[in-house]
């Protein structure tokens, strides 16, 4: 006669579960933290209210609209603008002469603006924003 052997129950040890969870969370935290961000640094002169009109006439002026980029009066597309601004800034040696005044239409999209900004930066220009300030005058 054969005797049946009793089955032995084997439970995995529970005491290490918290340690495993702890190690897993550290792993996922480290993975999440190492995603680097990419971008474009931009040097901007400190904002100030404009008082001097004389110096401004010497600076290169760029107007951006949703459909075109206007450099010193001539409308251009971005690749052409990049070439023209490089040529225009090549002759300028003084830092003060490398200032490029950018005026944007209120509905200028950000991708267009950042493209123009990168072209000016690559050409060695110093981008300056010309913002319109609102002034409310009450008339009685």
């Amino acid at each position: 006669m054969k005797l049946k052997r009793g089955k032995m129950l084997i439970d995995p040890p529970d005491c290490a579960t918290a340690d495993i969870a702890f190690t897993l969370i550290i792993f996922f935290l480290v993975c999440a933290a190492v995603q680097p961000e990419t971008g474009m640094p931009q040097v901007l002169p400190k904002t100030e209210a404009k008082t001097e009109k004389q110096d401004q006439s010497r600076n290169i002026e760029v107007s951006i609209t949703p459909s075109s980029i206007v450099l010193n009066g001539s409308p251009l597309q971005l690749p052409e603008f990049a070439q023209r601004i490089t040529e225009a800034l090549r002759q300028k040696t003084r830092e003060a002469d490398r200032i490029v005044v950018v005026k944007s239409a209120p509905d200028t999209p950000y991708p267009t603006w950042i493209g123009v900004s990168q072209a000016i930066d690559r050409a060695g220009g110093i981008l300056t924003l010309e913002l319109e300030t609102e002034r409310r005058i009450e008339v009685e």
Binding site: A21, I25, M40, I114
Partner: protein, 138 residues
């Protein structure tokens, strides 16, 4: 005759140490996320030749609804310069990085006042952008 009393040993249970560490970690993670802006919804614009950005002192975001956030808290461009100056303090140049995350559909009327405010606070502006996909080979 004196009977010696049996000495009782009191030991600290080490069994729950893993659980305690786990709870502490969750506590610190929640604290650290108080300055997080991951809840702000925005999509970056794409540009060729973007560089890896250095760690920022502050992060300004313009979201899909064209609202402005400073370190995840809603603000206005008018209040931004003062708040940024307070964060940047007397940090030397080169250590005043401010991330600007502008939603790709934002217009100049939304982002130009923000750029002006960062400039006024003396921040080193870094536009956060996505690298443009390379053109498919012909």
């Amino acid at each position: 005759m004196k009977l010696p009393r049996r000495q009782l040993t009191a030991s600290v249970p080490t069994f729950a140490m893993g659980d305690i560490a786990f709870l502490l970690l969750i506590f610190f993670v929640i604290l650290a996320r108080a300055q997080d802006d991951s809840h702000v919804q925005w999509q970056p614009a794409k540009l060729k030749d973007v560089k890896l950005a250095a760690a920022p002192r502050a992060s300004v975001t313009i979201d899909t609804g064209f609202k402005t956030y400073l370190d995840g808290k809603e603000t206005t461009p008018a209040e931004l310069a003062g708040a940024l100056s307070a964060i940047l303090g007397d940090a030397p140049a080169g250590q005043r990085h401010v991330f600007l995350k502008v939603h790709r559909e934002a217009k100049a009327s939304h982002f130009e006042p923000v750029i002006a405010a960062i400039s006024e606070a003396g921040g080193d502006l870094i536009h956060i952008l996505e690298p443009e996909d390379p053109a498919p080979p012909r």
